[in-house]
Structure formats: C-alpha cells, structure tokens
Amino acid sequence: MTLATVLMGVLASGPAHGYDIKRVHDERFPASKKLAFGQVYATLGRLERDGLVESVETSQDGGPERTVYALTAKGEWHLRDWLASTEPAGPYVADELVRKTVTAVHTGADAVDFLRRQRAVHLDAMRALVRERERSTSVGERIAVDHALMHLDADVRWLDEARERVANHDTRSHR
C-alpha cells in the first residue's frame, strides 16, 4: 500500500493529472526507480475504488483521456493517519521511512515529531536484539544479530540526521 499513500501525498498539494503525479513522484524520490504509467493508473484506480481519491474532471477534446484526480476527505484522513504513525522497526523498513518522511515534509505534516517517535521504536527494537544477543551462545547467532543491529543503527542515525535537517530548515524558514 505504500505507493498508494505516496501518490495520495502528491495529491495533497492539489488535484493533478496522472502524468503529473508520476513526474512529481520521480522528482521527490530521485533514488527510486522511475514509475511506470501502468503502475500509476492501476494504483489510482484502486484508490478511486476505495473512495480515497476521486476523478474531478475529464476532458476529452479529441486527444487522449486527461483525468484529473483529487483527494477525498476520507483520503486526506488516511494520509494524515499514515504520516503520523510509526513503522515497526525491521530490516526492510528503510525505504518506507524515507518515503513517509519526505511526504511529510512536502505536505507540511510534523515530520520532527514523527522522527522522534520512530527513533524510540527503533531503539526498543535494538534493545530487544541486544538482549537476544546476550542470551545467545553461538557465533552464528551473534553475527546475525550484529548485522541486524548495525542496520537498525544506520537507520537510527539517518532518523537523527533527518530530524536535524528538517528542524534546521524549519527554523530558518520561520525567521
């Protein structure tokens, strides 16, 4: 469901065509793979079916179909809820964290608060892993836990740095 919410995040700035939605997404996440149009329209279709997004106008003067999509009130609520909730810490969550944080920044949500709470979740997970490692006796288990710990640590360091950047940017733009 991540792509769906990220596209909703794009629509939070205002209604847009599918083509513009794809373009803005690719600009926001330069490190990610560029989206395929089929993917975009399929996701938009699902969102429309779930009532989170609606088509606002459809122009059809001889050219290809140009539907403008917009967030519904239910969609806005879902988006806000997603932006505020933390992700469970784990090995494959980094991508999700980046998307959520960037989207939060673009939609003006409180990214700093989210990052702070997410850090606490990550620290809890690290603590659990440390306890697990203390209990284990085999080298194999230990090095496996080491790996997980180091990656979580990398995520936490990114969370801290991202928080600094966002906080600094906020203070600067409020002067």
């Binding site: 850090r119 606490a120 620290l123 690290m126 603590r127 440390v130 710990l149």
Partner: protein
Amino acid sequence: MSPTPEPLLSGLELRKSFGSTTALNGASIEVRAGEIVAVTGPSGSGKSTLLHCLAGVLVPEVGTLTYRGSRLDHLPADERTRLRRVEFGLVLQFGLLVPELTALENVALPLLLERRRRTDARAAAMHWLDRLGVGDVAQSRADQMSGGQAQRVAIARALVTGPQVVFADEPTGALDTLTGERTLEVLLGAVRETGAALVVVTHDNRVAAHAEREVVLRDGTTEHAGASR
C-alpha cells in the same frame, strides 16, 4: 501494578552555564536504584554537563539535585568529594587514571583515602582487577596500557568502594568497536552483579541500546524519555 519506587537520584530543571555558553537549560532526569539509563543527544547538547551535575562534580546554578532524599547541591565541597569517592563511581572519557601510579594503586586509591589498611586495599583492588580481566596489568603504570585496559582499570576503580550509582561518560568513545563492546559488557555485568545504578552518556546508539531506557538531551533540555516495556 506495583508503584514505581522513589528515585535514588534525581535532577530537576537544571541550569548550568560556562561563561557565555549555556550547557544545561532546564534538564530533568530520574535514576532509580539498579537502573541502567542512557543519556543521548547530539554533541554539544550538554550530556557530559548533566552527568557532572548528577555526580556532584558541578553545582548547577538553578535546579535541585536530590540523592537519597537529601539535597546534593547543598552539600559543601568536601562532602560532595567524599560522596563521589564512596557512593558514586565515575568513569570518565579521558585522563581518568593517575598516569604515574600503577593500575593496582589507581584502584586502591579510593580505599586508601577512606583510611583502609594498605594490605586490605590492595587485596580488594586486585580482586576487582581480576574480575574485570586486567589482573595481569596490575603492576603496570597507567600510562603504559592500551585504551581498553585503562578503561577496565577505571571501571574497577569506580566499583571498588561498592557505589550505589556508577556514571560513565562515553566509556567506549576512544575504543574500537569490538573492544568497546567487550568493555561495555564487562561494565554492565559488574554493575548488574553489584546492583548499582548506571548512568551512561553516549552518542553511540548501540551503546544506548544496552540500557533499559534513554533520556535524550537537546540544546541543554531533556525530551521526555523514550518508552520501554
């Protein structure tokens, strides 16, 4: 649900400046008996200053420090020094051992200051050095040891008087990852065994993950502590 026990050591709304720099600006922290707390935050956030205030090394300009129910910041300097010697144990980042003394003498020093007999003091010191795995450097001078060995000797020195609270300022800061981890495990093991509380200042999240909870400092103020179980 059992009521949370009274904190052993607490600092409330602490403020401390050095000249024109404000290091602490309304920081608060509580430490319960036997607890392991990590103090984290970006560099320059006042972590070491908070540690020094809690340990009675510095007196804050504003705020209250309470240890076992009585005001720590109201004690005269000699009594605070004695408290640090007997009830607290301090493991600093640098310069913590007397370079000219041997490891054994460094660890025995707090006991000698408490007027214990020389043989008793040396025996107790040797016992702790062995327990921390550095018995073989007992006769070496402090400035001729590796960083990891010196840290363990410092931990032994901090624990030799049976303190109630141990304070550690970046105990693994100058060490490589594996040595640091081993040193940390040794410290935690010893602290858990004696039932002392531990307050460890660190910028390393993996060190913080060894604590039961974390107090985050930012620009001299504490954020509300991260949740635990």
